[in-house]
């Protein structure tokens, strides 16, 4: 468990953060650029002091301003992957990795070979940092942080300085890391797609404050999220299980709550657990069971909440047998349909609306 409760003022910027993260697990620190995410993890790493507050990891106090405890970063055993990689330019790739390994004080949860294998660093070992692409640099930086045998790995927007193609070169390795090593991670990001793919837990930040935290499904329903990700990215994230594969393996039927959702199957097998985001703008609401439509996904549920959304639109929460779905419809349509809490409705989602980057295997 990582427990953080800190305050820090820097000029006009005030950070006031409080959250707890279960370990192991991947937690995303999510918020717009400049909302204090980096400042916060620098405090967790110890590179920056706090005005007041405390940081504890698995019961060990790392910072407590009241008791005047401040463990220096070199003694915290917290790995840090910086946005700009920060490989040592005077050392080769292998020497950069060994630098961390030698200072791990004999601990060896992950070995050199294992890390090199996991991140496919073999062909890079003989090179110098200047000869690496941005994505390769980040992979080496992740490997170096891992070889420090950290108890917690902090990743400060490791993909932010990469273009989309390079990002795709690194993301799968981060997923592998999460699935194969039981190392707790805090992943800082302002890209919700990355959070959806990597995180199990989300801490939402806005203007220097932690505004909400919880499982990713729970967070996806938070109204605060709209201001951070933008109205178009609002949508419930639900977990489900693949019930079957149709159309010669191209489509998968995913059971969510009491309904079934057909999505494009990307190497999915029956029984696989998946997490999917259904964007609110892609959901149509009907008050009678619809027929003669091309839409493959018709989920029956009950309205459990109506909230004002962007101008002239409302956000309808629909409970589909335990799985929540959000739908954005115009206020006029809501009035015409006479929607109210407890009403029985059908939510319609086009299969093609669920893009591959909104779907993830668990």
């Amino acid at each position: 468990m990582l427990q953080v409760a800190v305050k820090k003022t820097r000029g006009a910027f005030a950070l006031c953060a409080q959250f707890e993260l279960p370990t192991p697990g991947v937690a995303a620190l999510f918020g717009r650029s400049g909302c204090g995410k980096s400042t916060l993890i620098e405090i967790i790493a110890g590179l920056l002091g706090a005005d007041s507050g405390s940081v504890a990891l698995d019961g060990e106090v790392l910072l407590d301003t009241e008791r005047r405890i401040a463990v220096p970063p070199e003694a915290r055993r917290i790995g840090y992957v910086f946005q700009d990689a920060r490989l040592f330019p005077h050392l080769g790739v292998a020497a950069n990795l060994r630098y961390a390994e030698r200072r791990a004080r004999g601990l060896a949860y992950v070995g050199f070979e294992e890390v090199a294998d996991l991140l496919a660093l073999g062909p890079l070992l003989g090179r110098r940092p200047q000869q690496l692409s941005g994505g390769e640099k980040q992979r080496v930086a992740i490997g170096r942080a891992l070889l420090g045998q950290p108890r917690l790995l902090l990743l400060d927007e490791p993909l932010a300085s990469l273009d989309k193609a390079r990002r795709e070169e690194v993301l799968p390795y981060l997923e592998k890391l999460r699935d194969q090593l039981a190392i707790p991670m805090v992943y800082v990001s302002h890209q919700f797609e990355e959070v959806l793919r990597l995180a199990t837990h989300v801490v939402l930040m806005d203007c220097g404050k932690t505004v909400a935290q919880g499982g990713i499904g729970e967070i996806s329903l938070q109204p605060e999220l709209r201001g951070i990700v933008g109205a178009d990215a609002v949508g419930a994230i639900v977990d489900g299980e693949v019930a079957g594969i149709d159309a010669g393996g191209a489509l998968a039927r995913v059971r969510i709550g009491s309904g079934e959702l057909t999505v494009a199957a990307a190497n999915l097998a029956a029984g696989a657990r998946v997490r999917v985001q259904i964007l609110a703008r892609d959901v149509i609401v009907a008050t009678a069971e619809p027929r003669h439509l091309s839409v493959r996904n018709i989920l029956q549920g009950t309205v459990c909440g109506i909230a004002a959304d962007i101008a002239d639109a409302d956000l309808i929460s629909i409970d589909v047998g335990g799985a929540p779905i959000l739908a954005r419809i115009t206020t006029a349509a809501r009035r015409e349909l006479g929607l109210c809490s407890g009403m029985r409705v059908w939510a319609l989602v086009k299969t093609v609306a669920i893009a591959a980057d909104r779907l993830r295997r668990l």
């Binding site: 070199e74 055993r77 840090y80 910086f82 005077h90 630098y99 200072r103 942080a145 420090g148």
Partner: protein, 230 residues
């Protein structure tokens, strides 16, 4: 070097020796001072900065005079060094090396400071998160990364040290074979009737050494920079 008179050859070797000793003497404090001035904020920092750079603006003779007072036989430090270690600085090549060191210290410190200011502190932070303590970080990250400045500063200081005149002649006098370095020999030749040819030869050597040193410093700095990928 048969075209050189034995006394001139002696002056050349003595200059090289004195300058080498001076550089060795200067190097550790220069690194420390450069680091203090760049990385630390402490009371008296501006004063230290000014003090180190003083030899650049003071008449060298004044520096030699101060050394004479402090390190002379009856000086505070000079007496103590003589009694405790049996080290005499006055009228010796060690004294010449000390005077040269004081005069070339600002050159070294300047060059190292520029280099240190270009060292990305983020790299030191990265080393910190990997478990490197302060000394470890300094030795494995900071020092190697400021190497271009250290090398350039050392070579420039060595070249400049070959020609140090005022402070040397004031502090340790002009003793043939002990403290008569190149510039002192050149000065002596000019004062001697018929010494014009010798003065010309010595001037040529000084010129060649100075130019060679500066070129070497630049070449080294460029090589190291390329090695560091900058």
């Amino acid at each position: 070097m048969n075209w050189l008179h034995p006394a001139e050859r002696e002056a050349l070797w003595l200059s090289l020796e004195v300058s080498l000793r001076s550089v060795c003497l200067c190097l550790p404090p220069a690194v420390l001072i450069a680091w203090l001035l760049t990385r630390r904020r402490f009371p008296g920092r501006t004063l230290l900065d000014a003090f180190v750079h003083l030899p650049l603006v003071l008449p060298p003779v004044a520096v030699g005079y101060v050394l004479l007072i402090v390190f002379g036989m009856r000086g505070v430090l000079g007496g103590w060094l003589h009694r405790t270690f049996g080290i005499d600085l006055i009228f010796t090549r060690n004294g010449a090396a000390l005077a040269t060191a004081v005069m070339t210290l600002p050159i070294m410190v300047r060059s190292m400071r520029i280099s240190l200011e270009n060292v990305d502190r983020g790299l030191e932070d990265a080393a910190r998160t990997l478990g490197a303590g302060p000394l470890d970080r300094f030795a494995t990250i900071t020092l190697p990364l400021m190497l271009p400045g250290i090398l350039a500063g050392t070579i420039t200081a060595f070249s400049a040290g070959l020609g140090e005149f005022g402070a040397v002649i004031t502090f340790v006098s002009n003793i043939p074979g002990e403290t008569r370095t190149l510039p002192l020999a050149l000065y002596t030749a000019l004062q001697t009737p018929g010494g014009n040819a010798a003065a010309a030869r010595l001037a040529c050597i000084s010129f060649a050494l100075g130019l060679g040193g500066l070129l070497l410093a630049e070449w080294f700095a460029r090589r190291v920079r390329r090695m560091l990928g900058r």
